[in-house]
Point group: C2
Chain length 220, copies 2
DNA sequence: TATTGCAAACTGTGATCACAGAATATAGAT
DNA sequence: ATCTATATTCTGTGATCACAGTTTGCAATA
């Protein structure tokens, strides 16, 4: 059962917000699969709440195109076309590239240690072929970089992109053919950050985002 | 009274979506002022619907930070700090700059005629000091440019930025000291598009977005 | 056995009510 | 006249119900 709503733990906000956050996380790490249906009443029972908070959470995710919602039809996780996926990764490259340039100015040694740890988690998850752990570590790594900008508007917009690409990436990496040439990318980013190399960090971050498109091309 | 919900006109979607779209437009053109309160029940009466669709629209706008919502307190239009405004215009410059570069590759002569018309509307609205017409024409101009990318994810993200900066810009331009040096920017963008100058269009578009920050600095 | 049609189950949407906390206005005291 | 305490009004939130369109499954027919 879901622990998200345990009321003894101090959680911010109302029920809708908590359910929204939980579903958002599940989308990012690929716990929800493309074309999967989400029913208000079913989720309400799982979360042990009424339909009210769930419908608001689902509507909110649908408004961000993290879910597809049509009248009188069940909400479902989008199954992206190649063009849609490419569009999302393009925006991610633009935003994360700009963020990385700023991050290179502000990064501290403590930040680099944290990034290195996330990278260890990433490779550990890859060894175990654990898709959700892998995606979560990847998200944590990237998020730490663009959070260094201190620009909350920028952060939430990039977050929204990870929510939308999560389900598709989870499918993609489990069928990945050649991950080797990409696995060292994060190390290169850390190295560029260490040198406070703005242009280099930006270029590497843009490349890393573009990797998502590569995955897609391999799968056809 | 609001005509948005006239049911004889074929409108897409449900009540929540229509109310959301109407409020979104009002935010973009500055019909809603910073720190203004929005009550679910009051709006429900204005739109002649129950509270249900309104609360979903407001919640959705709050989730995009287009409105501020706290438990048991009225929703209200955000009153941006200088840092928050600068952050928003930074993201706008990044996204619109990247979009403009692509637009310069795809722009047609028909597009340029449309852009020129929006620019005429813009200057006409300025002569009359009509803030909402001015902001709407400005939005139309920019939107036409970044819609040329065909990237819907990119478009909706930029749209969200106009929603958030609208109320603040509406206040800003009415108190604007020196608009002259900025009024020709759009003409320069059109000229760069005519020449299919990717780098130039991008640079000019980034500058134009940065103008929003300038406005703020003038006002203190 | 395959196909068609109908009924039952399931879907989101909108309306309405109860509730608790926040804001406001009013009346009382100093 | 000013400050304070209290009552009233207003706020979003959650739950529950009715409704109509969609999907699904089962049974009857060819």
């Amino acid at each position: 059962m879901n622990q998200v709503l345990a009321s003894d733990i101090a959680v911010p906000g109302n029920l809708s917000t908590r359910i929204y956050a939980d579903l958002q996380r599940k989308l990012i790490v690929g716990d929800l699969r493309p074309a999967e249906n989400l029913s208000i009443r079913t989720l309400a029972e799982e979360y042990q709440v009424s339909a009210m908070p769930v419908r608001e959470a689902l509507r909110q995710l649908a408004s961000e195109d993290a879910l597809i919602g049509a009248a009188k039809k069940a909400y479902r996780v989008p199954d992206l076309t190649s063009e849609q996926a490419a569009d999302l990764f393009f925006v991610r490259a633009v935003l994360e590239g700009a963020a990385a340039e700023i991050a290179a100015e502000r990064v501290t040694d403590a930040d680099i240690k944290i990034l290195a740890k996330h990278n260890v988690d990433l490779e550990s998850a890859w060894e175990k072929r654990h898709a959700s752990d892998f995606l979560f570590a990847n998200y944590q790594f990237h998020r730490h970089v663009y959070s260094l900008t201190g620009n909350s508007a920028l952060q939430s917009m990039i977050d929204a992109l990870y929510v939308r690409t999560g389900p598709w990436l989870a499918f993609g990496i489990t069928n990945l053919v050649r991950p080797d040439k990409w696995m060292g990318e994060h190390d290169n980013i850390i190295a560029a950050l260490k040198q406070r190399d703005k242009a280099g960090t930006r270029r590497l971050m843009e490349e890393d985002a573009r990797w998502g498109v590569e995955v897609f091309r391999e799968l056809g």
